[in-house]
Symmetry: C2
Subunit: 369 residues, 2 copies
């Protein structure tokens, strides 16, 4: 089989150009006599790779100077613990409360993990609506003095995406940091980092390989940790050591750096947004006009990255997936908690991939409708 | 430059065969239409890679059935916190003591991190001897009721290695688990896992890329965690989810799996031990007979993996390193805390690499002695 169109939710498809370059450099990076995987993280070669990756990411996302870019490990699930461990240290026990807005499987997990370290106030939840919509900020019931407010701005499993940024100042909490899990849509479009205290995400959707966690933290939040926070996960320590307090996942950072360069060659995040919008419109447009398939998420918040959809006749699911596989359309099965299908169409998915999927949707509808 | 001999302490040289195979499979693994980095960790392709890696490692190390192999993240430095968080939960505050044997920079860090979670008793330390020897077990002053006893069986920075296994039963503590940081010599020779409660290590020396932590835990120790232990680092959760509670570092596991297969093709750990012994004897033999170089570690515990050495005339250090680099002998500079030089000669370093190093040592001695 040649390269297929891979709709995995993560780890996910990477640009072929990136993988090609990585393959070519595997045994000898730029004449160094060794591959990137074999380099001391403190040697000049890897230091240059790390510095370039940080600079490119800072440029792509227009990260303000008062924010630090941290490369960590453990994915968003580990960071769900690392966040409260880093943000609650300045508060006495009785003031350890954090607010969570629950909009899908990922924010459910985030708030659950935070309960190890603090009281959690669920400011809003759409669980009763099966996570098919976003609660407007007017619906939120924030607590009076939360240490932070947490949102997941794109729910990978439920396919719900924020196209607006919460405003805690408007809610009377101007000094409370907004913390966002951006794992599955970061770099898909421009983002105003200055609206957040912390953004974080696993790399394995839009950035690079799994095993790398990206955390971007505002300076004043670096050093509020609880004593139980492991040193390797203390943001200030990570920042002061330029993400090298412990040995970083060097190869994953290298691949992420190649992705950042690829994004720059493609015109940056505004260009990616245009392409991602076109891809999502093509796919949702077809699904909306079909009586054979259906989607569940409200139109104003359906994700451009993760598109869950269903066959009206679910007995055809296996036939659908087998046919997709035959046509080189891979990993379309929906998450077990939602069922049906899910097409994840991250940056690395070209328009042709979505076109091929829509062609198949049409063909399958014709032959089974 | 073609492939050099890379003496990095870690991330370290990998077998060229492994990198070659990884490069060939980068865009399309076994006809899957996608590379390993792009596979869902829950798909059949990656599941087979993971299962094979675990089975091969179990075979290589003869891991007993009552031990679980966990693939984690954060390296040994993170695990230094994860260990006490996992082993102290069954004890009330006043019984939270752990014993540490301090034999170099790594065990210094381990005991320091543990103090976040428990009282630490330093059972022995060779700091006064600048970590150039190992304290015999008869020198240890164990506490009466430690939750565990921690050793680092190969100190990467100081070049000190245990060639014996501590015996806690003989010390009157038959039920206390022995915990060992084996980062920098695991897989260099056979190891009797049954003598330990937990062994752990970062992969980036003898296993594969950085960003992967190997933890092997006896069943009865899986579920003793403190409430503050993040779920993603709770051994029982990791074990029950087959190292996939959070998205594992899939590509690092794949490379580790290729290394395990390479080790099996080479004859397993007994064969590696013979080769590693020959390499170490060649290098130490030359250094011992030279009046130009010196080593500092006692002969009965000098590491076969990490060989720190010094030029008597340290003003020649930079000239030495520049000449080495010209000859394709890379990353020989010693750790800043020890100074001088360090040759790390892990499994992937062939005998020819050590021969080339000794040839250079001789040549440099002749021209500068």
């Amino acid at each position: 089989m040649t390269r297929a169109f891979n709709f995995s939710a993560g780890p996910a498809a990477l640009p072929a150009e990136v993988l090609q370059q990585a393959a070519e450099e595997m045994l000898d990076w730029h004449g160094a006599g060794m591959g990137v995987m074999e380099m001391s993280h403190r040697g000049r070669e890897f230091m240059s790779i790390l510095a370039q990756a940080q600079a490119d990411l800072r440029e792509l996302l227009a990260v303000p100077d008062n924010y630090r870019i941290l490369f960590m490990q453990g994915g968003a699930l580990a960071e769900n613990a690392i966040i409260p461990m880093n943000l609650l240290g300045q508060r006495p026990d009785e003031r350890r409360t954090a607010d969570y807005v629950v909009t899908g499987a990922w924010s459910v997990k985030s708030q659950k993990e935070a309960r190890r370290y603090c009281d959690v106030n669920i400011a809003a939840s759409t669980e009763a609506d099966k996570f098919t919509r976003l609660p407007a900020q007017a619906e939120w019931r924030l607590s009076k003095d939360p240490a932070y407010v947490h949102v997941c701005t794109n729910e990978t499993i439920h396919g719900v995406e924020y196209f607006w940024t919460p405003d805690l100042a408007a809610a009377g909490l101007p000094d409370v940091p907004l913390v966002a899990d951006v794992s599955s849509h970061i770099l898909s479009r421009p983002l105003d980092v200055s609206r957040f205290g912390v953004i974080y995400g696993g790399a394995q959707k839009n950035i690079g390989p799994s095993g790398l966690t990206l955390v971007i933290v505002r300076d004043d939040l670096l050093d509020r940790s609880l004593p139980v926070c492991p040193t390797a996960f203390h943001w200030k320590t990570v920042a002061e050591n330029d993400s090298m307090y412990n040995t970083p996942p060097t190869y994953a950072i290298y691949i992420a750096g190649l992705v950042f360069q690829w994004l720059k060659r493609r015109g940056g995040l505004a260009a990616m947004e245009a392409q991602n919008k076109a891809k999502a419109e093509l796919l949702y447009g077809y699904l909306d006009n079909s009586g054979f398939y259906r989607t569940a998420v409200a139109k104003d918040c359906r994700s451009r990255m993760n598109v869950p959809f269903f066959l009206h006749d679910e007995t055809l699911n296996d036939v659908f997936l087998a046919g997709a596989r035959e046509r080189g359309l891979l990993q379309l099965k929906g998450h077990k908690s939602v069922g049906g299908m899910r097409a994840s169409i991250y940056n690395a998915m070209p328009l042709e991939g979505v076109t091929a999927l829509v062609d198949y949707l049409r063909e399958f509808e014709r032959s089974h409708g």
